[in-house]
């Protein structure tokens, strides 16, 4: 069984490297730096899971991408984890109404590698260790 593919979208290359290092232990990881690139990759080769940062080129770019994916029949079922924490207002609003932005899980930055692996595992399975 092939390793599930996780697409990580974040404009901070150092953070992306950290996330990729963690997820890369059990998943195939692709990385992009903004929402436009994320949508292009999904369109070209849909991943099994998307990890989206909220604030990239624009204030709520991650939310916009998540909504766009959910509104498209072809991509509506791809699980999404949103990385928040840049703006606590978002977090408070999400606590009140999680349907405000469609995502399966939310993680607040800084993230714990353990939490990240657990939440990804819940959505796409435990993956497979590198041979």
């Amino acid at each position: 069984m092939p390793r599930p593919t996780v697409l990580v979208a974040d404009d901070d290359p150092v953070f992306v490297q950290s996330v990729a290092a963690v997820l890369g232990t059990r998943y195939h990881v692709r990385t992009v730096a903004n929402g436009t690139e994320a949508l292009a990759v999904v369109d070209d080769d849909p991943p099994d899971l998307i990890v989206l940062d909220v604030m990239m080129d624009h204030m709520s770019e991650g939310f916009d991408v998540a909504r766009s994916l959910r509104n498209n029949d072809a991509t509506a079922l791809i699980p999404i984890i949103i990385l928040t924490g840049v703006d606590r207002v978002y977090n408070l609003r999400l606590e009140v109404d999680e349907s405000w932005v469609p995502a399966d899980h939310y993680l607040e930055k800084p993230i714990s590698p353990e939490d990240l692996m657990r939440k990804v595992g819940e959505l796409v399975g435990p993956g497979e260790a590198k041979p």
Binding site: P13, F15, S18, T25, A33, K109, P110, P113, E114
Partner: protein, 484 residues
């Protein structure tokens, strides 16, 4: 009172002598405010008029019992007329001429009411004994109310009209043109008693107008002062609230900007601690270098925030220096930044438009250096990839120095050109071209320009470049120096 509805302005009063010296615009402003007061007073006066109509009706009924049988029908007609025109005035005030209407229209209506009432009163005076009429003193009552509602100057004019009307009435009665009516106490008035009544009336009318105007004009002046003070206070409170909102917003975005790299640093360290990446491996070194870069960016943000705070709060303590040469600052910066420009493959071109030096009477040299360095550094950083040119021009006229920094680089999208001087605003293409950047550089530049009495502006086109222009007055004396 309290007839009018809707929002009321804070201060009430009527414009009179106290506002006569004001400009036309101010008069209009105050007139608008006072129109609310006048509207209420007119409605109140309409209420009193019902009492007058009632009194007249009663007098017409009771007249025969007071030796005035012949005047009863006439008084009844006057009572009906007063009631009718009162209905019309109330209708106009409520339906056509609300308090939101301009003061001039309401004032016109007030004068019309006053004239109509005085006319009705003189009819009543005629039908109740002429110059010996017991209702003659009501003229004085009207004049007092008129002075309160309108203003002294108008009422002095009306006073002459009243005196003229009274004199004409009494003369016509004594000449036999109008039939003299017996007074309540019986008998007809003599010429002597009429002259005495006229004299008393004139003294009372003008005396009452004078006294009422003296008192009310002081109240009006105090109302205006109160209005001005409350307006200033409201404005100050609004400004303070705006400053607080700005501070709060600034603190929030500053915290966000610090939190973002901190989140990355914490995550990277945790990844290393948890053993997902070996610190000694190539990936580990890359991660550590990236983390160190994030620490640098944090420090840069903190430094820029401190610089900005210093400029904003520490102007009074800033090292204001006499006769500061911009030429010298730019020359030093050229020497300092040339290696960086060469490294970036950017040609740095100085262009001094005029002969002579641009010398500011007063300046804070470190802040100017920081601002110009930011501008030139930005121009090099975002210059055309693979090699471009940055031109730094200095122009001088009699009163201003103009520093222009132009690059042929990536440019700034049109929709962000107004915002890039705000804290932490960075265009996406700038982030892509250069990941590092605090987003505070242009805020510092603007702050430096403003504290030197100048301003900064930019023109830009994506892919063609950006030109930032800072204009500084040569002879600006900062308030901090004046305060000293």
């Amino acid at each position: 009172m309290g007839e009018s509805t809707g929002p009321r302005p804070q201060t009430q009063g009527a414009p009179g002598s106290a506002v006569r010296h004001r400009s036309g615009t101010e008069k209009n402003r105050f007139s608008y405010i006072f129109s609310w007061e006048l509207h209420e007073r007119l409605l109140w006066f309409c209420k009193l008029r019902w009492l007058a109509a009632l009194g007249l009706a009663l007098a017409s009924v009771l007249g025969p019992y007071f030796s005035m049988p012949s005047t009863s029908p006439s008084l009844a007609v006057v009572a009906v007329l007063v009631a009718l025109y009162n209905v019309v005035f109330i209708h106009v005030l409520r339906a056509r001429l609300g308090p939101e209407k301009d003061y001039a229209a309401l004032r016109g209506l007030a004068i019309l009411q006053m004239v109509t009432d005085l006319a009705a009163l003189f009819f009543t005076v005629h039908f109740t004994g002429g110059c010996s009429s017991p209702v003659l003193p009501f003229v004085v009552f009207h004049m007092a109310i008129g002075t309160i509602m309108i203003d002294g100057r108008t009422m002095y004019g009306l006073g002459f009209a009243v005196a003229g009307a009274a004199a004409s009435l009494f003369a016509l009665e004594h000449l036999g043109v109008l039939a003299q009516v017996a007074t309540v106490v019986g008998g007809r008035s003599t010429v002597g008693s009429c002259v005495l009544s006229m004299a008393m009336l004139v003294v009372l009318v003008f005396g009452v107008v004078y006294l009422t105007d003296s008192v009310t004009s002081r109240f009006k002046a105090r109302n205006i002062e109160l209005h001005e003070t409350s307006t200033e206070l409201r404005r100050a409170l609004e400004e303070q609230a705006q400053v607080e909102r700005r501070k709060s917003h600034y603190m929030r975005i500053s915290a966000h900007q610090l939190r973002s790299p901190l989140g990355t640093i914490k995550t990277s360290i945790q990844v290393l601690i948890d053993g997902y990446v070996e610190p000694g491996s190539a990936d580990g070194r890359r991660l550590l270098e990236g983390t160190a870069a994030r620490v640098d960016s944090l420090l840069a943000i903190v430094n820029d925030l401190l610089e900005l705070a210093k400029m904003r709060e520490g102007r009074a303590r800033a090292p204001w220096t006499r006769k500061v040469s911009i030429n010298q600052i730019l020359a030093d910066l050229f020497d300092a930044l040339d290696p960086y420009a060469r490294e970036a493959n950017v040609e740095l071109i100085p262009h001094f438009i005029n002969e002579g030096a641009a010398v500011l009477d007063w300046a804070v040299p470190p802040d100017l250096v920081y601002a110009f360095e930011n501008l030139i550094h930005n121009a090099i950083k975002y210059s055309k990839p693979g090699g471009g040119t940055v031109t730094v021009a200095l122009g001088i006229d009699r009163s201003h120095a103009m520093v222009v920094v132009a690059d042929d680089g990536i440019g700034i999208p049109k929709e962000l050109q107004d915002d890039v001087f705000l804290e932490f605003v960075r265009a996406p293409n700038a982030k892509h071209a250069q990941a590092e950047g605090t987003g505070l550089g242009l805020s510092i530049v603007r702050e430096a320009a403003q504290m030197h009495g100048g301003k900064v502006s930019l023109e830009s086109a994506v892919g063609l470049g950006t030109t930032v222009t800072m204009v500084l007055p040569l002879h600006h004396i900062p308030p901090e120096i004046i305060d000293r």
